[in-house]
C-alpha cells in the first residue's frame, strides 16, 4: 500500500511538473523556454521575460514577404508602438550558414539600422534548434506569449497572403489585434492562423 501511495505521489508530481513546462509548442500551453544569443553577443532566455508580453518574429531580411512588411515600415511601426507599451519583441533568424537570410553580425546590424527596426533583440539561431522547437515554418512567422509565459497567438502577421505592400492597409493585423487584447486584460480573439511567407532556411 505504501509503495502504491508513493508511486501515485511521484506520478502526480510528474504530471504537475509537465503542466508547467512544455517541450513542444502548443497554443494555450506554456511556451517552450529557450536561450539564444543576440547580434551584440548578449544572451536572452525566454523565461527571463516572465511578467512581460513577448512577441517572437521569425525573420529573413531577404525574403520578399519580410521585405513587404519592412520596406513599407509596417513591422517597424508595430514594433515601436508596442515597445512603448512594454512589449518585448524578439526577432529570431533560423537561417543556416550559407542559406538565404544568414548574415554576418556586421551585416545584421547594418540591416537593422537601415530598416529602422525597433525590435528588442535580433537572436541568432543558426542551428535551427529554437525554430524547430517552435515549429516555425516561414518568415515572418509570429508568436505571442503572455505575461504568464503561455503561448496565446501563433501564425501570420495579417490576413492577406501576398508580397504586395498595397495589401497591408486592407488586411486585418492579427498581431496588433492580439497585443491590444492582452493589454486590455483579454485573450486574443484569433489565436491560430496559417502563417505565410518564405520557408525558414534550416540546415
Amino acid at each position: 500500500m505504501k509503495k502504491f501511495i508513493f508511486a501515485a505521489l511521484i506520478f502526480g508530481l510528474i504530471s504537475v511538473f509537465q503542466s508547467f513546462a512544455s517541450d513542444k509548442v502548443e497554443i494555450d500551453k506554456k511556451a517552450p523556454d529557450f536561450t539564444l544569443t543576440d547580434v551584440n553577443g548578449k544572451t536572452h532566455k525566454l523565461s527571463d521575460y516572465k511578467g512581460k508580453i513577448v512577441v517572437l518574429e521569425w525573420i529573413n531580411f531577404d525574403c520578399p514577404f519580410v521585405k513587404k512588411h519592412y520596406d513599407s515600415k509596417n513591422m517597424q511601426k508595430i514594433q515601436d508602438e508596442y515597445a512603448k507599451k512594454g512589449i518585448i519583441w524578439l526577432a529570431i533568424c533560423s537561417s543556416a550558414p550559407e542559406k538565404q537570410g544568414n548574415f554576418t553580425k556586421d551585416e545584421i546590424k547594418k540591416r537593422i539600422k537601415e530598416t529602422g527596426s525597433k525590435m528588442s533583440a535580433y537572436l541568432i539561431d543558426e542551428d535551427g534548434k529554437v525554430g524547430k522547437l517552435y515549429e516555425a515554418k516561414v518568415t515572418p512567422h509570429m508568436y505571442i506569449i503572455n505575461k504568464d509565459g503561455v503561448l496565446v497567438y501563433m501564425g501570420a502577421i495579417d490576413s492577406i497572403k501576398s508580397t504586395d505592400k498595397e495589401d497591408i492597409s486592407k488586411a486585418e493585423n492579427y498581431v496588433k489585434g492580439a497585443l491590444d487584447a492582452l493589454l486590455n486584460g483579454k485573450m486574443p480573439a484569433t489565436k491560430v492562423t496559417q502563417p505565410y511567407g518564405c520557408s525558414v532556411k534550416y540546415k
Binding site: V25, Q100, K132, V138, V192, Q194, S199, K201, K203
Partner: protein
Amino acid sequence: MNKLFALVMLFFGYGLLTASEGNKHVDISVKTEKDIVAPGDSIWVAVIISPKKGYHTYWRNPGDSGLPTVIDWNLPEGIKIVEHKWEIPEKNIDGEITDFIYSEPHVQLYKLAVADNFPISDLKIEFRVEWLVCKTACFPGDKDMILKLKVSDKKPKLNKKFAAYFDNIPQRLEEWGIGATKYSDKIEIRLTKPPGYSEKIRKIEFYPYTELVYDNSAKQNFTDEDGAIVIEIPLNKNFKDNFFNIQGIIVADEYLDAFKKYKAIEINTIFKTF
C-alpha cells in the same frame, strides 16, 4: 538619329532592368479546346504555367510555405467560369517544411460558359496571372495575358491535343465509396474499392484543399484490406475550430479507375465525429 537610337536603347535597357525576377523563371501560355464557342455553349481553357528548370510554383494549398498561383479573369457580361481545376501537385518535403508544388509545366483548367444571347463576336479577354516562384529563394511574378475567343454558330475545330491536359486532373470517381470519420487527433478516410479493383497500392495520401487544419509534415498511415483502403490523416494539434467536412484529393501510386487514366480522386465528404 544617333540620339534617337540611344534613347530607344535606354528605354529598352530600363525595361529589362526593371523586369521582375519572378517573371524570368516562369512562362505562361493559354490554349483552348476548340477554336470557336457558340452562344449557349461552354469551352475549356488551359492556362499553362511552366517554371524554368530548378524552380517551382505552388498548388491551391501551397502547404507550409509559398503562395498559390492566382489567375484573375476580366470576363465580359454573359461569360462566366463554371469549373476550375488544378493538376495533381508534387508533395515536396524539405526537412521541416512540406509544400505542394509544381516543378514541371502544368495547367489550371477553366470551363467558361457563354450565355444563350451572347452576340457573335471576336473577343479579347484579359486575365492576369500572379505567382510565387522559388528555387532556394522566392520571387513574386505576374503577367497580363489575352485570351482570344471567337463566339460563333459555325462548326468548331477541335484541338486534338487538349484532352491530354485532363490526364493529371483529379477526378470524382463515383465507383469508389468514400467515408470519413473525425477523431480528436485525426481523420480517417475509408475508400471502398469498386468491384474487381485489383491494383496493389503501395503509396496513397491525402492532400488537403484547406490550410491549417492538417499537419502537412505528419506521416499518413494506411491499411488495405477487406476491400477498402483506410488512410489516417493527423490533424494540426493547434487547430481547435470545429469543422464538418474534408475536402481535397487522394493521390495514389497506381491507377484508380478501370481505364487506367487517373491516379487521384477528388473528395468533399461530410464526416462522422467521435
